[in-house]
């Protein structure tokens, strides 16, 4: 098959036609840059922290954020922020790729270890926190990662956190929230995360919002990013993995399924956010233990800390 635009060989079949390497790379970059502009994800005065793991999504979004700033003659401060949960035989490998990448593109990297902040790795913590339940490690990991990304992005001076969430991640989160009737959580999704503004919250934004995971992997491959495939040992245990399989099966049978989920969700997102603002009168307050933003008296990270201390 040849490219829809030129005689070169196709590397991907999209709904609107085949694309060769060069036309795919342009198409992908244009889509990411359009998302940044349409949703005002990067402001002229923003100091930018890109949340990174060393995987394809975070390296791609880091590379394209840097490229976007350069192409638009923007001089925003940019750094990569990684959270090391201490998952054995996993995180150290992805952080190696991150170091190589950031050295090549001269991007400063900051790494925060859960062991240093909370006194425990995820491997040590979750069997204690989830004892007697069927919960997977992902609940502890999620709370820790969100907490540390926000706290350290802010402490390092960032006014925006850019994440590598792609279209598949978002479609999975939307369906998970529907299946579990978590309408309130769904209101926090979208190209810009969250519902409320608070001086202690650094807004999180998603430039890869409209990029399917397969396109992100292909972009990273064609750009020659060095990424070794290492799977989080807990990844297949979670509810998300089953939703991922379900959506991939549907996408294969009915092309455009994931994009359809995103489009219909974006139509109702303003209503969800408005409803959340009206119903959730509880103000964000500062955690009485650590001073970080919390929806109750004590934040989730400090609740986990208390369980680990017993």
């Amino acid at each position: 098959m040849t490219c829809h635009h030129c005689p070169e060989k196709s590397v991907i079949s999209l709904q609107h036609g085949e694309l060769c390497k060069n036309h795919f790379l342009s198409y992908f970059e244009e889509k990411v840059f359009k998302t940044i502009k349409k949703y005002h994800l990067i402001g002229r005065k923003d100091s930018i922290s890109v949340a990174v793991s060393g995987g394809k999504d975070s390296l791609t979004v880091l590379y394209l954020t840097r490229k976007y700033l350069r192409e638009n003659n923007l001089e925003n401060e940019l750094f990569a922020l990684a959270i090391d949960e201490g998952i054995h035989d996993y995180r150290s490998k992805t952080l190696q790729d991150l170091d190589v990448f950031c050295a090549k593109y001269t991007i400063p990297v900051k790494v925060v270890k859960t062991k240093d902040v909370f006194g425990h790795t995820l491997d040590e913590a979750y069997p204690v926190v989830n004892k007697g339940t069927k919960k997977k490690p992902c609940n502890v990991c999620g709370v820790w990662r969100r907490y540390l990304l926000n706290k350290y992005a802010r402490e390092f001076g960032a006014t925006k956190v850019i994440t590598g969430h792609n279209l598949d991640d978002e479609a999975q989160a939307i369906v998970m929230n529907w299946f579990k009737a978590n309408t309130s959580l769904a209101a926090h999704l979208g190209p810009i995360s969250g519902v409320e503004d608070h001086e202690l919250f650094v807004p999180r934004v998603k430039p890869l919002y409209f990029c399917p995971e397969k396109e992100v992997r292909l972009y990273a491959l064609l750009k020659g990013f060095q990424i070794q495939f290492v799977e989080c040992p807990y990844a297949r245990a979670g509810y998300r993995a089953q939703i991922q399989d379900l959506l991939n099966d549907f996408e294969q049978k009915y092309k455009g399924t994931k994009q359809g989920i995103i489009n219909s969700f974006l139509d109702i997102l303003p209503l969800l956010k408005e409803r959340e603002r009206q119903q959730n009168q509880e103000q964000i307050q500062e955690c009485q233990e650590c001073g970080e933003p919390a929806h109750g008296r004590v934040c989730q990270a400090c609740k986990i800390k208390a369980v680990l201390a017993t």
């Binding site: 991907i12 995987g55 491959l221 040992p233 996408e251 294969q252």
Partner: protein, 67 residues
């Protein structure tokens, strides 16, 4: 035809006898959803319609994140 296949997600390399013609047919036979892999031959990315040849060395790179 005989193919040598590397499945990245399982870090597994194996030889398979394949009676079909294209990448799409191969993935169907291996019960791998094309949404989840990128197929590479000699550093060249292949689409599902691409025809295979005897003794091809095929890499199936995982699309799904490591976690």
């Amino acid at each position: 035809m005989e193919l040598e296949i590397f499945i990245e997600r399982e870090n597994r390399r194996e030889k398979v006898n394949f009676s079909g013609r294209t990448i799409g047919e191969l993935l169907k036979e291996l019960k791998i959803n094309p949404e989840t892999v990128i197929t590479v031959r000699n550093k060249e990315v292949l689409t599902e319609q691409e025809a295979l040849q005897d003794q091809d060395k095929i890499e199936l790179l995982s699309v799904i994140s490591g976690g």
